[in-house]
């Protein structure tokens, strides 16, 4: 049975989908926003260090549930195994209203201008599909600003000489510095580096009708107790709903995009809260399920004209899955460095994002978020006995005396790193699940390991008496920074969407999330996802005429 037709159906209420829903609804389009997860509120904030988005030993606080949501992971030797959302290798992103923005660490980075032209700047290394974006930093700048002011960003990057030009400062000042920041700032200045306050999607003062951060230690991975963290669930989505033109339906799992005989989208089919199959007709479909699930939905939307999935005529959907290769260093200090102030991360440098001899790019380096004891187990120096009194001694010695510096190395995209549909395994609704395979490019590892050395040098200058490295990990990358699977480009033969996030083959389907990132920057990607969502929405609103686009 068919439901009442709307102008647009948006699939996924995360960073991208939340913004699109708000922009379309406030501009007069009727919208249905479908989300497979639930809508959590600050009252649901469970301080559970074993079950959250960051530490999933006992599950994930914002979904998806382990039950009925398997994926298949194929390792480099070709061995395959089932992985569940709470297990490493699943490359999970949250499934809830707000998506990752409900629980994120909330760093609000603009990509570097060079991040949009990586191929021109460096040339692609062998075995990489490194390419330029079809848009520039300048194209995105007004939308970065809009995201900063509408969603809310605190911080101060005025002393970062490497940033792209900005027209407006950030709307909120930074939080007062922690002990770690004070130590690292002095050291960076002595080294001739350029430290500054990390931009964060977190209130430092009252903003948007919500209070400022109270600096508790339950931050990244958790819903914010006082609603000071700015996600789409407490900013744009309520605005969208207030128009009464947008209806949010939670716990709805979209099965496929419906297509007419000419291959244009007519809506989506989804399983509702009680598992009933529904059809939501719409003139426009916006896919915002994050790089893994958005690709899955396109691949599951088959048609006579698109036997390998919507937008996949040239086999680009699901390719180039990338995330970030996090590397860095940890230093032991004789003085106590722990001051129990969240969110912890506060100071960064962009001195090494570009301009590293022999390396194609690099990473922003920042101090790490505050560490709960269960997380700190992974921060002990190599060679620490794994058990016994010596291990306990190490916990007592190091816990309050370390600083960690790390950064997200921009990855070299790899064609073979991909998601596709598994031919056998299905989820609880009977929808084919993802089969993931691939690896990180050797040059990515090389850059990452170079960044670890930079972090180590910073910590040594800061007075660390022992320093140990966190080197680049192998295997497929994706995780919460997942990107790249529906590349944006001008040539339909080498990309999935155009520069407005519109699928080349089907003009009334848009992909608006990290999937469209050609490269993923040496930064956390969320502000770029948000800026792109504003930009794509503006294009939709401007060119939408009744049920069609003006050509």
């Amino acid at each position: 049975m068919s439901l009442k037709k709307v102008d647009a159906v948006v699939v996924g209420a995360g960073a991208g989908g939340g913004i699109v829903a708000k922009e379309l609804a406030t501009n007069g389009l009727s919208v249905v926003l479908l989300e497979r997860g639930k809508w959590h509120t600050p009252a649901d904030c469970r301080k559970d260090d074993l079950r959250n988005q960051r530490t999933t030993i006992l599950g994930n606080n914002t979904g998806p549930e382990d039950e009925g949501n398997p994926r298949v992971l194929v390792d480099q030797q070709g061995r395959e195994r089932i992985v569940l959302p709470s297990q490493g290798g699943y490359n999970n992103n949250a499934a809830c209203v707000g998506g990752g923005t409900a629980t994120y660490g909330a760093m609000a980075w603009r990509f570097h201008p060079k991040d949009f032209r990586m191929r021109s700047e460096y040339g692609a290394p062998e075995g990489s599909t490194l390419e330029d974006w079809p848009i520039s930093y300048d194209d995105l700048e007004p939308y970065y600003e809009k995201a900063e002011w509408e969603i809310g960003v605190s911080g101060d990057d005025s002393t970062n000489p490497f940033k792209g030009p900005r027209k407006k400062p950030l709307p909120m000042p930074p939080l007062p510095p922690t002990r770690e920041e004070t130590i690292l700032r002095a050291a960076a200045l002595r080294m001739g580096l350029h430290p500054f306050h990390i931009p964060m999607l977190r209130n430092s003062v009252p903003y948007g009708g919500r209070p400022p951060c109270m600096r508790c230690r339950w931050c990244v991975g958790f819903l914010c107790e006082v609603n000071a963290k700015c996600g789409t669930q407490n900013t744009v989505i309520p605005v969208a709903l207030a128009t009464r033109l947008c209806e949010l339906r939670t716990q709805c799992m979209v099965k496929e995009i419906l297509l007419d005989s000419r291959g244009r989208a007519t809506g989506v089919a989804y399983f509702d809260q009680s598992g009933r199959l529904q059809e939501q007709p719409a003139d426009l479909v916006v896919v915002s399920g994050a790089a893994t699930e958005s690709a899955r939905l396109l691949l599951n939307s088959k048609h006579r004209l698109f036997p390998n999935g919507l937008g996949n005529r040239y086999d680009w959907v699901g390719r180039n899955l990338q995330g970030h290769t996090y590397t860095g260093a940890i230093g032991y200090f004789e003085q106590e460095t722990y001051d129990d102030l969240g969110p912890g991360a506060g100071i960064a440098i962009c001195d090494f994002n570009h301009g590293n001899p022999g390396l194609r790019g690099g990473a922003m380096l920042a101090n790490e978020f505050i560490r709960l004891p269960i997380q700190f187990l992974n921060f002990l120096p190599p060679g620490t006995p794994r058990w016994g009194k010596a291990h306990k001694d190490a916990m007592r010695k190091y816990y309050k005396h370390t600083i960690a510096v790390q950064g997200p190395t921009q990855e070299m995209p790899v064609w073979e790193s991909r998601v596709q549909l598994d031919p056998k395994v299905k989820d609880r609704w009977g929808i084919p699940v993802l089969r993931m395979s691939g690896y990180r490019h050797p040059h990515t590892l090389e850059i990452g390991n170079a960044m670890a050395e930079k972090a180590a040098a910073w910590l040594k200058e800061a007075g660390a008496v022992e320093v140990w490295l966190k080197r680049a990990g192998q295997g497929l990358s994706g995780g919460q920074h997942q990107a790249g699977t529906c590349r944006m480009g001008n040539d339909p033969k080498t990309s999935v969407v155009n520069k407005y996030c519109q699928v080349h083959d089907v003009d009334n389907v848009f992909v608006v999330d990290g999937s469209v990132h050609v490269t993923n920057g040496g930064f956390n990607p969320v502000l770029t996802i948000m800026a792109n969502a504003y930009r794509a929405s503006e294009y939709i609103v401007k060119t939408w005429k009744g049920t069609k686009f003006r050509s």
Binding site: K47, G208, P211, N227, P373, W387, G388
Partner: protein, 152 residues
């Protein structure tokens, strides 16, 4: 029926005997010194609860692993003296058959000792007290009255 086993006692999955041996193993992994260890913190209670819940897939590993450790000991593990227990676990750590189980117990013991008490371990936040972390679950710089409006 397994569920009617007399020795099941207060445990959800483990038998009394298994719990007793596992408790001694965990106490070697996180021994009491100037601060309490795994036994006091209730690490086995954490593991037992998860074995009946999120860790059901590990039930077989525990059932067989504890038995294997006891076989290696030649009697019940907890009857060995401390030096013998440590020597045996060092042997288990290098043993191809036993190492996967021992690694699992190490990981779970750490979770039960350093993780939230809500899951059965870390009694009275003992590990957090040991690390001298303020215990109040959510300590902030300020306190807000959320009922009052804030300026946009």
């Amino acid at each position: 029926m397994a569920g009617c086993r007399a020795s099941r006692g207060s445990w959800r999955f483990l038998t009394e005997e298994e719990a007793s041996s596992l408790n001694a193993i965990c106490e070697q992994i996180i021994p009491a010194d100037e601060d309490p260890g795994a036994a006091w913190a209730g690490v086995v209670r954490y593991i037992d609860r998860q074995l009946a819940g999120h860790f059901q897939e590990h039930q077989k590993a525990y059932r067989q692993g504890i038995a294997a450790i006891n076989r290696l000991a030649g009697r019940r593990f907890e009857e060995l003296d401390a030096a013998q227990q440590q020597a045996l676990l060092k042997k288990a750590e290098k043993d191809k058959q036993l190492a996967p189980f021992f690694n699992l117990v190490i990981a779970h013991a750490m979770q039960g000792f350093y993780g939230s008490p809500r899951h059965g371990g870390n009694r009275d936040w003992i590990s957090w007290r040991m690390l001298k972390i303020p215990i109040s679950p959510c300590r902030g710089r300020d306190h807000y009255d959320l009922t009052k409006g804030v300026k946009a």
